[in-house]
Amino acid sequence: MSTIADIQNEIVAEFEILGEDRESTIFYIMELGGTLEPYPESFRKDEYTIQGCQSKVWLVAEEQEGKVIYKADSNTDITKGLISLLIRVLNHRSPKEILNADLDFIPRIGMGNILGSQRSNGLAAMMNQMKRYALAFQTKQNA
């Protein structure tokens, strides 16, 4: 099975094909948002939101056979696309792998430059929350 680093390299390669064109990069991210699995409605509650400045994000995680499964959604298509990338990298990994992951694909694809500071902060908040779930599951495993 490919590692977190492998998947990140794949994503970087995909974005390199898009080149410098900002519009097509954003269109691509929005398309990725459409590939997200439907979010379970019972978890569409305030306690599962991550507050960004303008867009809303819901995130929930469960543990199956020692691996973390994330489900997430947003009210904006670009954010959904970003979530789908994070999920692609981190889903079905052990808490330990997630906690040790060096998520460098975001700066490598120049996302901060494309997205601006508001979305970049939101993206960082999302990653933190995903790692917090992993930490909680790891603590439970070790207990």
Partner: protein, 407 residues
């Protein structure tokens, strides 16, 4: 006389750049306007040649700085048609101007059970200071409702006016929708029952000819940075008798006549409300901004901007998926809209990819957005240096974005 837009554009250095590989189209003028070179030069000149603290200085530089500072006050007076320059108070912005009135007029005239009237259209800066005042005094905040088009419901306003109404604090032109409120009519109705009126002129002063004596408003608040001037500077106009009757806002230097540890007496207006060293460079650089507007002609500016607005409406009215928000009969040059099935933030980001700067979100008018049942809008707002060609690029780009989700 019409606007020579190309020669006007040549006065604004910032406009001549590419953003994300495209010529910058700056349509975020309701947030802040760009500054002509004369304004930038005035700031530079002040710090290079005249920098000195104003008033009471016994030396030449202080005298020069003071003279220029007070010349701006006179320009502002003329710009809004006030009786005398003592009625012009410099603040940090519209927000501070409104807070000043809430704190000082509020302390003097507002009591438990008194009512303050605002409208659904207000910016947060004309809501929160009154909520804070109401919490403090026990006064009550009442809200004038609007129609779906974004206009005040006049009959409801009249119903809300009562002998309990002490102040009507209302936006002259809505930042989110562009609606121009019938200021004169509002002021007459409020005065008829003895209430004072604060006009939030943050948006109107850059687009309309606002004359405080013709309107007879008691207070007018606005910001220099939306009038092609520097940031961090605002104006509060108030009628002399009111300003004199109000207690000071901040305590400190400049605002005093005499200080002893037993008792302090206060300076006359406007200095009573200008504690501490003000934004001297910004005040001085505001004068060339006002001169720019006056020499271009307020009527010409309004005519040009209105033409751009009508053109944008015309180009986008039949585009599938584009939903205009705010369709009042009288509007400043603000085009607020949404695209069906898309979040305004995403639309803004796609426009930015083409070098088009707009604002997205609730525009600091959350209660208005709640009233309209919207999370936010995309807002394009035009200024004197914008062109029909820019509106065309904008409309084409919006149409392309709309087609993504609206086949």
């Amino acid at each position: 006389m019409s606007i020579q837009v190309n020669s006007i554009r040549s006065l604004f250095p910032i406009l001549h750049q590419e953003v994300n590989g495209n010529p910058l189209i700056y349509f975020d003028n309701a947030a802040t306007t760009q500054k002509p070179k004369v304004v930038l030069d005035a700031i530079q000149q002040y710090y290079e040649v005249d920098n000195s603290n104003i008033h009471r200085g016994a030396h030449t530089l202080a005298d020069r700085a003071t003279r220029q500072f007070e010349e701006t006050r006179e320009s502002v007076r003329a710009f809004i048609g006030a009786r005398e320059s003592a009625e012009i108070i410099f603040t940090r912005g519209t927000t501070e101007s409104i807070n000043l009135v809430a704190k000082t007029f509020g302390a003097k005239y507002l009591q438990k059970g008194d009512e303050i009237l605002i409208s659904t259209l207000e910016h947060h800066s004309n809501i929160v200071p009154w909520q804070m005042l109401c919490e403090h005094t026990g006064a009550i905040l009442k809200i004038i409702p609007i129609t779906d088009a974004g206009e005040l419901v006049w009959e409801e306003f009249e119903k809300l006016l009562s002998p309990k109404t002490k102040l009507v604090s209302i936006v002259h032109a809505s930042n989110a929708l562009g609606t121009i409120n019938p200021a004169k009519k509002i002021i007459e109705a409020a005065h008829a029952i003895g209430a004072k009126v604060l006009l939030d002129g943050a948006q109107s002063t850059s687009h309309l000819d606002v004359d405080v004596q013709a309107l007879d408003c008691d207070f007018l608040a606005f910001s220099a940075h939306k009038l092609y001037g520097p940031t961090g500077l605002g104006v509060l106009y108030g009628k002399r008798e009111l300003l004199e009757s109000m207690p000071p806002f901040l305590g400190g230097g400049e605002m005093i006549r005499e200080v002893t540890f037993e008792k302090t007496t206060y300076n006359t207006i406007p200095f009573k409300f200008e504690a501490g060293t003000p934004s001297i460079a910004e005040v001085i650089a505001f004068k060339p901004a006002l001169d720019f507007i006056t020499s271009t002609g307020k009527a010409n500016i309004h005519h040009h901007e209105n033409d751009l607005l009508q053109y944008a409406v015309e180009l986008l009215q039949d585009v599938k998926g584009v939903i205009p928000v705010g369709t009042a009969a009288e509007k400043i040059a603000v085009f607020s809209f949404n695209i069906q099935s898309m979040h305004p933030f995403d639309v803004g980001q796609l426009l930015d990819a083409k070098g088009i700067a707009v604002r997205t979100g609730h525009h600091c008018t959350q209660p208005l957005m709640q009233r309209l049942g919207l999370e936010g809008t995309v807002r394009a707002s035009f200024a004197v240096y914008n062109t029909r060609a820019e509106v065309e690029v904008f409309a084409q780009t919006v149409a392309k974005i709309a087609s993504l989700k609206n086949k």
